[in-house]
């Protein structure tokens, strides 16, 4: 275990340093790059904080969809297996379940990368 500051704390502080100390000194393309870098630090700060819980949740969602897969398989393999089955399955029930699970899995990624983005659900734009 590392001494404090934790990874999340440091990333938060790097983002603040870039935003408050460095950005005002720059313009144009350099300013844009630093703004993007600061935002990536905030993404990683959330990842450091939320990551462990999100992984547990992801494993449980994938486990329900792929009950025949080893429970301790790497997440990358489980996700690749899901992609394969989604591409080849002809079972609408499975595909509907996959769709629902993918909404949740994508929501997890957005909780890290862009919180709030998934509040919009295109109500009224989906054919019934």
């Amino acid at each position: 275990m590392q001494d404090r500051p934790t990874a999340a704390e440091l990333l938060r502080d790097i983002a603040a340093t870039l935003d408050e100390r460095i950005l005002p000194l720059l313009s144009g393309n350099e300013q844009h790059q630093v703004r993007v870098a600061a935002n990536l630090c905030r993404i990683l700060e959330r990842e450091a904080r939320l990551g462990p819980d999100l992984e547990t949740e992801e494993r449980s969602l994938l486990g329900e969809l792929l009950p025949d897969q080893p429970a301790d398989a790497p997440l990358a393999e489980l996700n690749a297996e899901l992609a394969r089955r989604v591409a080849t399955s002809d079972d609408d029930e499975f595909l509907a379940g996959a769709h629902a699970a993918l909404v949740a899995l994508t929501g997890q990624k957005l909780a890290v990368n862009k919180p709030g983005y998934d509040r919009f659900d295109f109500a009224g734009e989906v054919p019934v």
Binding site: G28, H32, Q33, V36, A37, N39, L40, I43, A76, N79, A80, L82, A83, R84, V86, A87, D92, E93, L95, A96, G97, A98, H99, A100, L102, V103, T106, G107, K109, L110, V112, N113, K114, Y117, D118, F120, D121, F122, E125, V126, P127, V128
Partner: protein, 341 residues
Amino acid sequence: MSGAPELETTGDGLARFLTGATGRATTVSDLRMASAGARRRNVLFTATTAGERRELVATIIPTADVQIQPVSVEAGAIRLGAEVGMPVAAVVADTDDPSWVGGPFFVSTLVDGESVPRQILRLVEADPALGPTLAHQCGAALARLHAAPLDRAPAGMEGPGDGHTPASFALEALREQMDELLQPSATFELAYRWLRDTAPGDDRVVVVHGDFRNGNLMVGPDGLRAVFDWEGSRLGAPMSDLAWMSVRMWRFRNDHLPVGGFAVVDDLRSGYEEAGGTWDDATYHWWKVLGTFRWGLGLAGQARQHLDGEFPSIVMAASGRRVAEMEHDVLMLLRGAWGRS
């Protein structure tokens, strides 16, 4: 920034080119860079011929290897747009010869107005009637373009190719991009099979703009003044233009207003239909899903280009973390497609 000497050389090249193209001695002054896009440079300048001054814009493609299609095709599409009554910045001259100013380019008239999306949305906030007007004008402009006789399309304009409908052609390109993903995406596989299974069979092609959206419109308080950025123009499906301007990326956080963040779909649709276009809801939706999906693949491709060293950039790297936004949008648009959820 070493803009000044470069601009001076550009000015000399433009003066020589315009003198040759118009057959009248032309001088060029007051050169300034407008907002430079990722690949092309827009240079504003004053051209003086026999004492008469004109404000013009040169759109220069700096390196030939990033060109999507020859400038002559793009300039021809803009001329066609003008001919059928679309508001455009009229083309004065164009050349595929890169020697004048360091890249192929075309010169067009300067149209005054606002083109920055958030600023356009501010104009609409200030005048609530402007949003519907603008969407109506966009629909009408596209209906006119789509009604252009195909034999008026610029020589060399690309289309779906033999044996393809616009939809099957777009799907094939999508599959190629999917096969290059660094990790498979179950969401994209799901979207792909839906697109494949529901693809419109319509093989009719028209001249499409190819990138018709908030961001490529010049707008004033009076409404639509010009449609620009025609580099993606080609032969394609009419509904693809209408759907593209309705994907979430171009709403600039005004998510509840599908058309560019400034209007509801009915405003676009009525403008299109009143100007003679035929609207189809299912095809519109299909192209909206495809456009969102393709943007997601583009973002993933940028992250790949960063990671494999082809184009290392923190901005390209960040795109990888935006793919999930497009996955979410695609999943929402496909709600109910398999009976529940």
